[in-house]
Every structure is written in C-alpha cells, then in structure tokens.
Symmetry: C2
Subunit: 227 residues, 2 copies
DNA sequence: GTCTATATAGTGATAGAC
DNA sequence: GTCTATCACTATATAGAC
C-alpha cells in the first residue's frame, strides 16, 4: 500500500538468499522499534514494512502476519541473551557475581537497548488472550526456568524450583525500574535475587560456593515451532 | 454508533445522580471485561459502550476517552485491594501469614477474578510509551512501595527499601503463574517473598516477629489526578 | 520476493437533537 | 446525560502484475 519513494528494486546484495536474509533483518529491526514505540496493536504492518523500506507483502511472506513477527522477535532475543549469559557465567565465581550477570543482562539488554521488556510484555499480553500463543510462551518460560534451576543447583546446595521465582523477580524488578528508574539500585536487585535463591531452598545464609557454572539457559530455541 | 436493540431510555433508577453512578459502574465493568479479553487497543469504545448498554458518548462524558477508563479501572482496583489487604493484615500474626495475605490478594484478586494482572500490564505498556501516564503510574507504584516498606518495617527488624522488590516479585510471580498455572505453588511464592523481605534487609534467617500490622497500603487513591 | 491496487471493515471523536 | 449520525482516517489481507 505504501507509495514508492525509492528506486523500485535495488540489487545491492548479490544472491537471492542474501536479499531474503537482509529483508528479514530489516523487518525485524523495524518491528522491534515500532512495537516498542506504539505497541503491537498500535503499529500497523504497513508502518513496519515502510520503516524497513519494504512493503506489507514482504511481512506476510516472511512471517505470515504480525504474530509471527512478534514471536520471531522474542525468540531471537532469548537466544541472544541466553548465549551472552551463558558465556558470562563461566567467568563468574561468587553468587553475587552470577546474580549480577542475570540482572544486568535483563535490565539493560545487549540487543536493542531497553526495548526488550516492553516487547516481552506485549507478547505476554497477547499470549494471555490467545491459547496457542500462551502455549508457545509457556514452553519458552519453562525452558528459562529449567536453565535457572540447573544453574542455581550448581551454585548453591539446595534443589528447590526457584526458576519461576527468579525469572518472575527479574521481570518484575525491570518493570518497576522502567516506570521509575530510581526505584531500585543494582545492589537492591541483587539482594532480592539472593533472597529468592536462598529462600527458595529454605536455607538462610547466602551460599557462596564455587561450583561449575555456565549453565545452559538455552533449549528454548525451538520455540518458533508453535503457532 | 450502536444500533438500538433496547428501549430507548429506561427510567428504572430514580435520581439523575443514581443513574449517573449506575452508568459509570456499567461502563467500568464492561471495560474491565473487554480490555482483559481483547486488550485495550483491541477493544473499541463502541464495544465497551455496547456491552454496558450505553453508547460511546457516555464513555467520553464520564472518562474523557479510553485512557481515563483504564486509569479509573486500576485506581479502583488498587483502592479495593489495599482495603482488603489492610483489613486482613490486622489479623495476621506470623510473617508467612502476612506474606500470604499479600500473595493471595494479588494472585486471585477479590474483584473481577484474575482480570487485574492483565489490566495492570495493559496500563504498564501504555504508560511505558506515554510520559503523562507513566508519571501517573509511578505515583501509584511509589505509594504501594511505601506501603510495603512501612508494613515490612513493622514485621521485621530491617529498614531497607524492599517495596519495589516485593511489588515486582508479586507482579512477576503472577505473570509466571498466568502463563503456566503449575509453575509455582503458594508455598514457593511465599518462600520467595520471605527471601526478598529477609534478603533486602541483609539478614539471613526468617524474621518472625509479631509487630503492629495493618499497614496502610493506600494513599495511592489520589491517583486519578494525573492526566 | 516485491510491488500496486483494492475489498472490506473498523476506528476515535464530535455535533447536535432530544 | 444520552442519543443518532457522520467525518476523516486507518486497518488487515489478498490478487495479480512484474
């Protein structure tokens, strides 16, 4: 639907495959920006396509619609962040360092500045009213919980399921910090995380053992399967 | 815009004031349902008005638009829940009982079943991209943090600012539980809360003092001022 | 794979009668 | 206060040319 403000077809990339990959990248970037700015409902497919210097047809071709775009966006983010966290955890030794790795990578994401939490909320809201999407998201969360549980199991001496609490706390803290940046310091956030990790295992003092780290937060990658 | 499927004007309530209050109630109920079902963007003002058996004009007259409807909805919820929590806290004696009061009232709200968290997310997302709404929400949150801090100060012997962490954890836990109801038990949730309350005060063991309870979670009521 | 063009529908908001 | 009617837009999704 967009009118043509540019050369009708630009062959600045060699092969078809490369052009397709480039289009996919552009669409994802544009969607990340617009979804975060205006919300998923507020951002039209046309607007996304236009910012990507493509047309709406390309979106349908690559992702099938808005949902597919949103899923692809967040699955990609999970993969990226899980990789970074996994790498950083291998060099962390104390419990606080490890919790700091989690917190920092959630509170100021590597990819696309503070955009992620807004998108995560968009997806959560969408999933909340769409059964198929909810199952997709539940799988993703379960993967993250498992990753946290395995990691925490290696750091401390408990074996309780603190995954949901840790992930939930990370989300909730970032929510608070987004509304009021002065709401909490990094120290307070890490303190709260320490409490959850220790409290979940029904143990009191901060366990600071130096066990095998580098837990695999991935395994959430096959998420694009659903819907 | 709605066509007329009913008697054009029903004088089943006596005074103008009563009729106005009734209309306001109906609109709020309808909006709560539709916003939760379809999202704020997905629910049109016409649809809200129609479900309330009124017309779109009434919405503009009472709330000025969709935003006002959303704010009024959540401010009302906060008032209700703060009242209930305040009342229940006066009879709770142990720390776990008190944390249970918080958790139960957030995880299965008194008013309008599990609809609240979805609306809270809608508002959060909206506020995230609207400065005026963000300030409104920040005030609301700060009130809640203060309430928690005062309450916790009475229960335990620390004085750290655990408000944002406690509220954040409550939100995050409910988020997880909504996507996967089996994600966590009430015991686990309370354990995590205990950890945050204890961890924030840099103390280890669960403090179970029996101090003056019934903290005032309110003071967030004047929220409708902004925007 | 990307384009234009279009069908089909819905949107928020207001004016003015009652 | 609430109504009807309506304006000026914007939306998604598809068909078919290139």
């Amino acid at each position: 639907m967009t009118k043509l403000d540019r050369a009708p077809y630009v062959f600045d990339v060699a092969t078809q495959g490369e052009r397709r990959a480039e289009t996919r990248r552009r669409l994802l970037t544009a969607a990340a920006e617009l979804f975060a700015e205006r919300g998923v409902d507020g951002a039209s497919i046309d607007a996304v396509a236009e910012r990507a210097e493509r047309t709406s047809g390309a979106v349908y071709d690559h992702f099938g619609g808005k949902d597919g775009l949103l899923f692809a966006l967040l699955d990609g983010w999970v993969d990226d962040v899980a990789t970074v966290i996994g790498a950083e955890l291998t060099t962390a030794t104390t419990l606080d360092e490890r919790l700091g790795v989690l917190w920092r990578n959630v509170s100021s994401p590597v990819a696309g500045d503070g955009r992620w939490i807004a998108l995560e909320h968009e997806l959560w809201s969408y999933a909340h009213r769409n059964p198929a999407a909810r199952e997709h998201l539940a799988r993703r969360y379960r993967g993250a919980w498992r990753g946290v549980d395995e990691a925490v199991g290696g750091w401390s001496d408990g074996d309780a399921e603190v995954g949901p609490a840790v992930i939930g706390l990370l989300f909730g803290l970032e929510m608070m910090r987004r509304v009021d940046p002065d709401a909490l310091t990094d120290e307070l956030a890490i303190g709260a995380l320490r409490g959850v990790v220790a409290g979940g295992t029904r143990r009191s003092g901060p366990a600071t053992s130096t066990a095998p780290a580098g837990a695999d937060l991935k395994g959430t990658t096959d998420a694009h399967a659903a819907l």
